[in-house]
Amino acid sequence: MANTADENRFSTDAKDGPEATVLDSRSTQETYLNREFQDIHSTIAELESHLCFLQEKESTYEAEKGRRMKEFEDIVEERDREARNNDVLRSLVANLKRPLAPRFDDVYYIYRMQRLNESIKSWTNAVFKAREFEQPMSATEEDQLTHLLRKNLPEHIVWLEAVRQRSGIRYVSIHAKPRARIALARHLVALTIWKNIFRPACFGLSGELKKGIKTVMESVYTEGIASPINRTLLRLPISLIVRKPVPFCNGYKAGYRPRTPSISRAIS
């Protein structure tokens, strides 16, 4: 509409002469351009304010996204932790539910021990059998071996001292003969297994606990619940340990009431 009005004015002004037409048209154009310029400025200002608004919104969304991501990661972590706990609990429940009863026959353990022995025998024979060796054991190597054995297997040093007194044998001479070398290797493997795995009440026990727990288990096994160690450690109710009947006065001990009348009848 504005364009049509300007065009009309331009056409009427044109009737007054060419100069007036030019001036008129220039001023009109300037006005028009100024208006256009203002319009563009206001549009730019609007767009800028809108951009600011959008930028603000974006930063808000970014912050929100970060917060949500953090929450998500926390939830995932918690889920994993709970899943782990669940596994632990499930295995505990499975263990608790396992009945306390003999698991395998003695024959099974005999077989397992024989298999273990055969396996050790087989690989030591294969590895230590060689009749020719690269070089005989040197005095340094012998010292090194004695040092390692003194540190890790002092029980072997006791054996060594005993046999040295008897026969004057040395590692060098044992190392030189395949049969003796194999026997010594088997002895060292067996001694390590016996000392660290078989002898303790359970593999992994250390120091004083080793002896203590073993004594407890043996005592409990041989003397049962009446064992003094068992009484102390397991804190069993005295009624299970004392064999003599509880003395009663007029049927009941002072302050003691049997759970059911049938118990008092049975005792009397």
Binding site: Y109, L153, I169, K177, P178, A180, L184, V189, A190
Partner: protein
């Protein structure tokens, strides 16, 4: 027996998490020792690891049993007893020189109510002649 089994299971549950680390250190120390006895270079650790794993497996099973098992290494100079020991099927003479595998015993109740150790597996030994005749 049930109490013994309960204690065993409890101990195993408590100690099992540390087993891998302990096994590794055992393999390492035995590897160091046996390497010095090797006639020719050889990578021993896989063999030792397998042996240690098997032994721990057997022990863990026995810990969870009701029966009380014992393992006996025979001392040097002990006279040979055919009821408790055995050696490879060749002519050997003398007393025990070295024990090459422990014997397995189980504590049992005898007829008169006493506790006795019954031999389930004989200990493996090598007698004096293996070492002294050849050296």
């Amino acid at each position: 027996m049930v109490i013994k089994q309960g204690i065993g299971r409890g101990l195993l549950r408590y100690l099992e998490p540390s087993h891998e680390e302990l096994k590794e250190s055992l393999v390492k120390s035995l590897d160091q020792i046996l390497t010095l006895l090797l006639p020719v270079p050889y990578k021993l650790s896989p063999k030792i690891k397998k042996t240690i794993d098997r032994a721990v497996e057997i022990k863990n099973e026995m810990v969870c049993e009701q029966g009380l098992f014992k393992y006996r290494m025979v001392r040097s100079e002990e006279p040979f007893s055919r009821h408790k020991m055995e050696f490879s099927p060749d002519a050997q003479t003398g007393s025990v020189f070295v024990c090459t595998f422990p014997g397995l015993l189980k504590t049992d109740v005898s007829e008169n109510g006493n506790m006795v150790d019954v031999v389930l597996c004989k200990a493996n030994v090598e007698l004096d002649s293996v070492f002294l005749d050849s050296c």
